[in-house]
């Protein structure tokens, strides 16, 4: 459903963030993208919806080639890609409801959105989503009054109300505590399953990735070093992705309840 062909990105500073990345994501597959800081994980995700313009290569979403689209057509295609951000990226001074409804901006005209008169079906869907993540009672609170976990839930609603086919998730748990991180990851994965969405999740926490996804991609210096099931992440593999370190504890130290077991 999503296909990257020889995707490359070189920044103006000369940093080559992506080196000829080849990747196919079938319908409904949730995959985690791991790798050290600066490996190009964020760049890869942003090159897909062209928040960052790729230098060369092609991105196909279904049959549509995104890389060649005019800005108007790109806008239309962006509606099919929901994005969830590190640090939530909610518009702080807007209400929770406005933030969720902003996911519909690609579908409604300017005046409707300006006057905040969204179609009833959008409002209903927004309440349904907020209810699903347990925040329906917060609809009229301002986004900056929420806790980190709550904000990320709103961010998830905003991405889902776009009715996307694909979720691009950039470090969803980077600033959350371990328990909330698990809850957020579980929520994202459950929702993907419910709606049959494919997702690419950038994540630092290898153990967390292993718990929730079917496929892991390891990125190092902008190139794919590993592509396989989470069980395939052996200490040797992690060493090729991240460099030398004692990996035994990382792989086995966590179980599903969020407790840290000591296995030494």
């Amino acid at each position: 459903m999503l296909r990257l062909e020889k995707l490359e990105k070189t920044y103006k500073t000369g940093d080559q963030a992506l080196k000829s990345v080849q990747l196919q994501v079938p319908e409904g597959q949730v995959l985690a993208l791991i790798g050290p800081s600066g490996a190009g994980k964020s760049t890869l995700i942003r090159c897909i919806n062209r928040l960052v313009e790729p230098t060369s290569g092609k991105v196909y979403l279904g049959e549509v080639e995104l890389t060649g689209l005019s800005s108007n057509n790109l806008r239309r295609e962006r509606r099919r890609m929901g994005m969830i951000f590190q640090e939530y990226a909610l518009v702080e001074r807007l209400s929770v409801m406005e933030n969720v409804l902003s996911g519909r901006l690609g579908y409604v005209g300017f005046w409707r959105s300006f006057l905040r008169r969204f179609p009833q079906s959008d409002v209903d869907e927004a309440f349904r989503l907020l209810e699903r993540v347990g925040l329906a009672h917060m609809a009229d609170k301002r986004a900056d009054e929420l806790s980190g976990g709550q904000r990320q839930r709103v961010g998830i609603c905003r991405a889902l109300i776009q009715n996307p086919a694909l979720l691009l998730v950039d470090e969803p748990t980077a600033s959350l505590d371990p328990k909330t991180s698990r809850q957020i990851m579980r929520l994202i994965c459950e929702l993907c399953k419910e709606r049959g969405l494919a997702a690419i999740i950038n994540i630092h926490d290898v153990a967390l990735a292993q718990m929730f996804v079917q496929r892991v991609i390891g990125l190092r210096f902008g190139a794919i070093e590993f592509d396989g099931p989470p069980e395939g992440l052996t200490p040797e593999v992690l060493t090729t992705i991240y460099g030398e370190e004692d990996w035994e504890a990382t792989i086995e130290a966590v179980d599903d309840d969020g407790d840290i077991k000591v296995t030494k």
Binding site: N49, L51, R75, R76, E77, R78, R79, M81, M83, F85, E87, A89, L90, V91, E92, R93, L94, E98, S102, G103, R104, L105, G106, Y107, F110, S113, F114, G155, R158, Q162, L168
Partner: protein
């Protein structure tokens, strides 16, 4: 290990901004000498100051006995005109400033638009209000129209520049999130940018309203309407009690605006 011993038990002081001591001291001495010489060239005519003190005393004493009544209709008219000039010019100026500010923010506007908007701002800021007013009085004649245009023009330079700076320092990811949803440009501005800069826009607008009122009291001196004309006449006639009354009213209105802006800014935080 041997290096550390050369630092231990020696006093430490912050390195000087200018490292070479001779250069540092030359610059300091040069500056002080210049300063002394510069003050020495300002010559003071002490007998004139003494004469003036008498007039100054009269003026200050007039504040204890301001005359609101004798010229009340002049004061009322001037004040009325000033307030009209203030409000109309602020509204027009702010309305024009917003699109120019968007164009003058480098993170939003393409380079050609940016350069055009920045030049408009530069022109508006380079020309001082009084100079613009003199020019506009020459074109449109005496009266509040020239004042209104002057203040609108000045508002654009002030507000666009400061608002553009706020837009440039906004949080990029919030705007990015709106962009990623497939929003149109105007929707992106409305949802991603506007909420972030709104408190600043409101604060600046009230501050500019305040400035425009104070400026409107000056513009009368060059014939551009408002309370300034009345004030000028009062001074010319040595009617210090009327002048004191006018100044007191101006001070009160400015203080009221100040208070109002505090209340509003606290609310829009």
């Amino acid at each position: 290990m041997s290096e550390i011993n050369s630092f231990i038990s020696k006093p430490w002081s912050k390195p000087s901004f200018i490292k070479r001591p001779w250069l540092r001291w030359t610059l300091i001495i040069f500056f002080l000498t210049y300063l002394l010489a510069a003050y020495a060239t300002i010559d003071v005519n002490w007998s004139r100051v003494y004469e003036g003190l008498e007039r100054g005393k009269k003026f200050v004493l007039a504040f204890t006995n301001p005359d609101f009544t004798t010229r009340s209709s002049d004061i009322y008219e001037g004040m009325f005109e000033s307030i009209i000039m203030t409000i109309t010019s602020s509204v027009v100026g702010i309305a024009i400033s917003i699109p120019i500010a968007l164009g003058a923010a480098r993170n939003i506007a393409p380079l050609p638009v940016y350069l055009i908007c920045r030049s408009i701002i530069a022109i508006s800021r380079a020309l001082q209000e009084i100079i613009v007013a003199i020019l506009l009085v020459a074109i449109f004649g005496f009266g509040p129209l020239a004042g209104f245009l002057t203040l609108s023009f000045a508002t654009i330079g002030f507000l666009s520049k400061l608002l553009a700076e706020d837009i440039e320092s906004m949080d990029k990811v919030q705007a990015e999130a709106i962009e990623a949803s497939g929003a149109k440009w105007m929707q992106w501005i409305n949802y991603g940018v506007q909420p972030q800069v709104m408190p600043r826009l409101i604060g600046l607008s009230i501050y500019r309203l305040d400035i425009n009122f104070r400026e409107s009291a000056i513009l009368g001196l060059v014939g551009a309407g408002g309370i300034g004309a009345t004030l000028n006449t009062a001074f010319d006639r040595y009617e210090y009690d009327t002048a004191a009354a006018i100044l007191l009213i101006i001070i009160m209105i400015v203080m009221a605006l100040e208070y109002m802006s505090g209340v509003i800014r606290a609310r829009v935080q």
